[in-house]
Subunit: 210 residues, 2 copies
């Protein structure tokens, strides 16, 4: 009701929740979703079980909050070199998938999203932030005349990040630092202003038969 700016948060609540979520993340890393229990979080964090129930209604809420707490804080570089910005951004994403808490507990979020609407929404929000950053930078490339203006940016974004998620979680293939630049180049090539017409001709004439 009182429309104050900050919601007047008791520092004790803040501290308890942070400790609890840190422990929850550890447990998710070690044992996955089945390992995330109120008792285990209480034992590891030092926060009493009764206190946990005061903050989180059930396991799903705890899981959701834990996932939110490790949400990536990525920023898009902003030089005048589109390729360099994309390589940098995608490389950092690849690194976080392999070496951060975010990458480690993402599988539990994926599994949870299959049956929890809230978790599914969170997944869409997180991915949406990343997508909007990439689309914004690609849009600049279009306005500055580097990229074709009719490129399907939604498709391009999936092409840029999809292979990284696939290799990290599904095919579980390793790759070196040269992979991301190669991927970015491969994706960008058909979209560059100046080779568009030849490509369209080549595609229709050589591959499709319609």
């Amino acid at each position: 009701m009182s429309s104050q700016r900050t919601e007047r948060i008791d520092p004790r609540c803040e501290r308890s929740q942070q400790r609890a979520l840190a422990a929850a993340v550890e447990l998710l890393r070690e044992d996955g979703l089945p390992g995330l229990t109120f008792e285990a979080v209480a034992a590891r964090s030092g926060v009493a079980k009764t206190t946990l129930y005061r903050h989180f209604t059930d396991r799903a809420a705890l899981h959701l909050a834990a996932i939110e707490s490790v949400g990536p804080t990525a920023v898009m570089p902003a030089t005048d070199d589109l390729r360099a910005d994309l390589v940098e951004f995608i490389s950092r994403l690849d690194d976080s998938l392999h070496h951060s808490d975010f990458g480690a507990i993402l599988p539990s979020a994926v599994d949870g999203a299959e049956r929890s609407d809230e978790m599914a929404d969170l997944a869409r929000v997180v991915a949406g932030q990343r997508r909007r950053m990439l689309e914004a930078r690609l849009g600049e490339g279009q306005r500055s005349g580097v990229l074709e203006s009719d490129a399907d940016l939604d498709l391009v974004v999936s092409q840029l990040v999809g292979p990284l998620f696939y290799r990290r979680f599904f095919s579980r293939q390793e790759h070196d630092a040269a992979f991301v630049p190669a991927l970015v180049d491969q994706v960008l090539q058909p979209l560059l202003v100046g080779v568009h017409q030849e490509l369209k001709f080549a595609r229709v004439g050589r591959v499709s038969r319609r």
Copy 2:
């Protein structure tokens, strides 16, 4: 020791295991990994709990067997049209990700693979089969002169299937039937024989600054 052809399998074992795994798949769909318990499988399948313990040492083994039981049986079309074959293959993959048991319980396998070596190996095997089929068909394209012979097929495979997995499980974006053809075209364009030189020139000259 006796190197007979077939391992002499009692039909009763076969039947029990099939029923158990079918129930396990259902449970994984409904409640994810935490829902996969010996008691629940016994109750749903009609197979006695003691019998389950005779076949599966622990929950991980049961989970692994359940994942194996829904392994996809994909085949690569073999016409003389590379693009059409790829569109068909990728479309069927996309469909199975959204509408099959395989797609439904894949998240639990991904989560399990983070902590189970056997599950991780299984993921690599399943993805490897798919990758080899795609690489074989792309290799034909190279030998028949449609694709550049120096294309990085491993990268291409990730480009073809990565976006589908990403949109299904991470960004959770819907897309219509036109998505797959658009993706295949976009990925194939830089690899077509005949436009390679112009593309290489365009890339070095316009995007990269090295």
